[in-house]
Symmetry: D2
Subunit: 301 residues, 4 copies
């Protein structure tokens, strides 16, 4: 029996990069949180502290900032692909790269009803996320891209039921045919390839997810999630798989009976913890193996 | 020399109340975080543990939820006034009440371009805040109301300078005539009275703050804040005083020169800490004394 | 009626300074979060953007780091006094300075039972805090120092009652003679002068607070807080006033009756929100006026 | 091509359970954050909203609280095993269960130098974590247990080097032979079986991790992590694999040269983001396959 080094990687997490495009009077902004990680021949660093193969995490940071100017930053997916390809193609000991990105959205402020050219407020809503994973270089190169969103807080005040569930000796929950259903959605989708029109696809998927949440008469959060994933797959051939993670943000009907007040689903207490947590995957039955696509590096994605 | 009990109060903080109005097919939602605190004759509780004068914090909670149905919840200011008045008028030992409220905004989702009747996504942007302070009951009753907002993250990519500042032996900062100026604004305004059309005034003040931030050619964040406060006071007679607190969320121009890349205000690193923190008050010279209006109870407002 | 500039100040918040003393083989560490704010003649900056009187916040940062080496950093109170004095004495337009500091504690790790010379783990418990406020220079200089702690999470599993309270129509709470009482304590004390042996006084006050929390048979959190404050004032002549803020971190006895399980104060649910929040001041009846001592700049203290 | 339901599970996350043992005058406390998730035959819930096989997340919560009294809660590992076994053995549609637990440590307060029987302060330091995964019931039952810790903030003020690294066109980092090395460690270990003396093993592993961090002259964080993992495997036969994730919490030497002040590793700025992030696995070459042991459900572990 011997003790050995197993899977390992290292990188620079949470580079907070803002890119301003100011070639035109009307500026544009991209606001990112970028993490990079490398896999490769780094055993000597672990076993004997030899750094000869180790590109410093500081260098990964410099590269991320430099590429924000040198390369396209039109979409996080395209930018992440540039970064990941660079590491595996241009840095000899590197055999795999993972780039994870969050993008924060901004909206232009209105001045007398007209959009300002260079002032924005942060749109708080959901954060757009992406991951790019590349393994191998040259002809052996394989690429996985996922897109997604997180922190999309969505609530419906009716159209949600929960009844007919399994009852065991520890079950005290009452069934209901009308409740608030709310979540802070994380949705991620794996692309079948990297030849995608990233921005329209993102906008379209977000629209579908929200619409299905609104319109499905929900018998369980599970059902809603499945319908959301299915709608995405039906509409976008370039998507092979959808993963959804949805905390059930409980809104408990507040008991006002002691005060002689009727409460027909009007006053709720929002509880922080515990929360139900539902996770589901919807995919094509012929989807290629996911490989390392879902293997998260940081808590970012 | 004796040891005495000084100022004291107690209450229930952070009641997370959601109110759904469902009388019409098109539901409405109000999403609040409510804190209440009482002052009064509570010395016996401190000195000898006698609770006879102490209305439990649990009762304050029940009241906050009950009033969400029994009383108007059209605006947080009106609702807070109801709550505060109740405590000082109806609970004998109570001589003063403070209610602090945060309101989270939601926007209706679109389904096929049409607003849904009962599904919303949380608008992440700024949080609307208010505080109501009442002291004395009956003819002696005095009332202070503040409105405000927090977490309004706003950024301008040009139109901000900083130069001509004081230089001492510890000064190494370079002057600049063009920088990003970004903040996460807290703005609070004290009303001269409580006879206010709360929602339109809130919307109008928010609009003014954002517009002034965008349009003032800023020689310093101080100047921008003053102009924002002044604009509010000029437009709204019912506002006596404006207080602004603005962390300078530093966006540092990233040094790309080592890589032969020009960076003309295009690539920035967003730093978390430390941050400049500028605080200013703008008021009418004949404004009544603020009394306890600004005396915060929780970190909510 | 005119619009005027009211109270204002500015500074650099949350400088994260670590100071290593390495003159001896056994290193020492001080880990601080330092915020500085200045008051003075800054009207021109607000009114017309003239920065001639404005010492940049960046300079305040440089000074805070420089003083970590140039001046004593034996205690946060002594270091804060040096910083605050410097700003009011050496920077002409400055008439007042506020320094707020958090200190994070570390403890040496043991290697084979022996304390290591230069490795520590962060002690998570309470954070030591201090504020120094100076107004006026030369003979007019006045100084206020507060010490304190925050995030001291303390719990007693018995010895706490709550009954005999005021009952109104919204009261449903049941009285109890035995409950868990838990809080995340913030305690701050105002010194009567600045000629104090800071470290032993801090240690002694912390010890008293904890002991009184443990030993007082509590009829209400109010009573416990008062006894804690009184104990500090009785023991330390240099303390003029104690302020305590204690969220009641509710531990609700979990209802196991549906499962035929007795629960005699053994299984609890810890709730996040809402929470009771009790605040009390205990002081000497001849304490000098607090002036600006309690006027917080950041959320740090 | 068809759209299908893939991997899915659901449960109740973050049950905040406190257990007081009060059979003796000297009480004991266990403070937990428990999450449970189930896998099984839940396709009907997703596909058609049929809940007949779905044990509500509320029931999982009730069970977690009930077991805190009914079953042993001596260690989180033993308690988690009871919970997971119950779900797979006693709830027919359930084929797999995952339990993730955080435990917060408390230490007794001293009163006049003597440990109090029923008052504690929370030890802030590291959080102990565990996960239990069971698949199959009866003879087919397989069990995986991991232990671990997180949030162990550890720093050494010397004994850390970083030089000899790979240099590419984006490398500007200077090598160093003496720096601060600090991290907030996450360490998790997979047990070879479930017949373990949980508490002593936890204490022993924590001790080894800390000692190795202190004593290894570090040529890279990678090397330190490997040595930490190796020490655990050498000492504990019951551990098959160790995983370590270590953010490099950068302490940058502050440039005091502009002020004529020497800074020989004495004054540092602690930066929040970005941070290096190093992840390594150390294992026995004959370790059984990890199966689902590392497949996290929540952010807890």
């Amino acid at each position: 029996m011997a003790i050995i080094l197993g899977d390992n990687r290292y990188g620079k997490a949470e580079n907070r990069i803002v890119r301003i495009f100011r070639d035109q009077p009307r500026h544009e902004i991209r606001d990112l949180n970028v993490s990079t990680a490398l896999r490769g021949d780094f055993a000597a660093a672990h076993l004997v502290g030899d750094q000869a193969n180790v590109l410093p995490t500081d260098t990964q940071k410099q590269t991320a900032y430099a590429f924000a100017k040198q390369k396209s930053l039109e979409t996080i997916e395209a930018y992440g692909l540039e970064l990941a390809r660079h590491f595996v193609e241009d840095v000899a000991p590197v055999t795999g790269a993972r780039v994870e990105i969050e993008e924060y959205a901004w909206e232009r402020v209105l001045v007398d009803g007209v959009e300002d050219d260079h002032t924005w407020v942060r749109r708080g809503q959901e954060v757009r996320i992406a991951s790019i994973t590349i393994e191998g270089s040259g002809d052996d190169r394989r690429t996985w891209v996922t897109g997604g969103l997180k922190d999309l807080v969505i609530l419906k005040s009716t159209g949600s039921e929960f009844h007919g569930f399994l009852v065991d000796p520890y079950t005290v929950l009452e069934p209901t045919t009308d409740r608030i259903m709310a979540t802070s959605l994380v949705a991620r989708w794996r692309f079948a390839h990297a030849d995608v029109d990233w921005d329209p696809v993102y906008a379209g998927i977000r629209k579908l997810l929200v619409e299905r949440y609104a319109t499905v008469q929900s018998l369980a959060l599970q059902q809603t999630l499945y319908e959301m994933g299915r709608a995405v797959l039906e509409a976008y051939d370039e998507v092979a798989e959808v993963r959804l993670s949805a905390p059930n943000k409980h809104h408990f009907r507040y008991d006002l009976a002691p005060f002689g007040i009727e409460n027909q689903g009007e006053v709720f207490h929002v509880d922080d913890r515990p929360y139900g947590l539902i996770q589901a995957t919807v995919l094509r039955d012929d989807a290629a193996d996911a490989g390392p696509a879902w293997d998260a590096y940081t808590g970012l994605v």
